[in-house]
Symmetry: C2
Subunit: 239 residues, 2 copies
Amino acid sequence: MDGYDKYAHEPFAVTVDLAVFTLREGALHVLLVERGQEPYAGRRALPGGFLRPDESAETAARRELAEETGLSDVSGLHLEQLRTYSEPGRDPRMRVVSVAFAALLPDAPEVHGGSDAARADWVPYGTAGPLAFDHDRILADAHDRVGAKFEYTCLATAFCPPEFTLGELQQVYETVWGTELDRPNFRRKVLATPGFVEAVPGAARLTGGRGKPAALYRAGTATALHPPLLRPTREGRPA
Amino acid sequence: MDGYDKYAHEPFAVTVDLAVFTLREGALHVLLVERGQEPYAGRRALPGGFLRPDESAETAARRELAEETGLSDVSGLHLEQLRTYSEPGRDPRMRVVSVAFAALLPDAPEVHGGSDAARADWVPYGTAGPLAFDHDRILADAHDRVGAKFEYTCLATAFCPPEFTLGELQQVYETVWGTELDRPNFRRKVLATPGFVEAVPGAARLTGGRGKPAALYRAGTATALHPPLLRPTREGRPA
DNA sequence: CCTTTTATAGTCGTGCTGACTATAAAAGGG
DNA sequence: CCCTTTTATAGTCAGCACGACTATAAAAGG
């Protein structure tokens, strides 16, 4: 913050990019737009846009989230700043510094084009082919971050509807981590963590499917997990 | 990244701010500069500066780190992007978006004014009074991040000289966390984690002080800690 | 020589966790 | 209506990591 008068400060364009995740039919999906113009015309990209003069990056990200998903109320959704990407040349047209965010949605509303010209669609994670700009990297970073936060926070409930079964919560973990978990052990761990979930008194989900109906739970008041819920069999994961 | 042609993009000034930590005489110190001009003239601030047109934020941060500390080789030092601060009004003069970094130094070189006009000094953490701009918040966020990363990474060795004793490593943890640790248990945990430290074959530190000389260790090749080395007695720490 | 100080070794119990088995409650098919 | 399948829930058991603690070794200082 020093050197104000020593070096002329060049102006930069500042954008926000959003990695918006949801679960549809047991698979992790990402919200992507299709670019209609060069560069990367026809390629998919993360939704995002320019920061306005009176906005913080967080405000701009939430505005973009509302615009792209078409949701009227995005105030309760989980939105988290990832990091900032500033390599020269990441946009061939001009110098763009982009603040990346990750967002988690419980249910996947059909996106109706949003208010922007470009159509936004839910795409299964990993099937989108190469994205425009450095968005493959941003998306991978976002996925890593979400998976890591699942270990020591209650973030997984952000993917669940207001009331959910422990089986559904376990599927959230399994889908995001790409691993299978032991059901009794998962249950024991979740219920032993105070504030993670709280039981809905008399309710039981009649799933329509086979099997014994499961009890319903709501997200609790806790945000952190002590001790953490670690992923199975991961030796020497990079920091 | 969409909406390029829908909204005019206002230019922003982009800076990097650095929270540089080191340990001096068993206490955590931060590198701070004293501002010579308005706003916040006479107040201390985090070192930093404007992003140049051909630089990424990481490159600019490392350049500023070298300039402010006077170190010729900062390539091996730990430098980590924290987050980006973009609230309107955080700088009263103009719209500034700042990418914050945390850096860790093993030994504390006396800073000789640096190449900038403002003098930089090591200040004990927590004794600096209110800083300029939103730098108190940035500094607190940096300290939180470093403390949290100590739990599940080998980052603590970044505060140590090339060869160190386990007692010194333990002091690093105790200083950053502000808690005391049980020496035999800390020793057992560190040595049981493969790749955390490796013994220097025949060496023992003659500290000059009293007591049995301690064995010397070097930082190992591992970066992550599995399972983590958790802080004692912390129930319900915010995420 | 004895005390103090610091490093290192070892012990013991508790609690979390992974692996596994058992029971309960529903649907579906004969 | 019974029997199988499916899913939820309860319980068991061993291993291990960790906190708390005790014991020994090796130096310096008086």
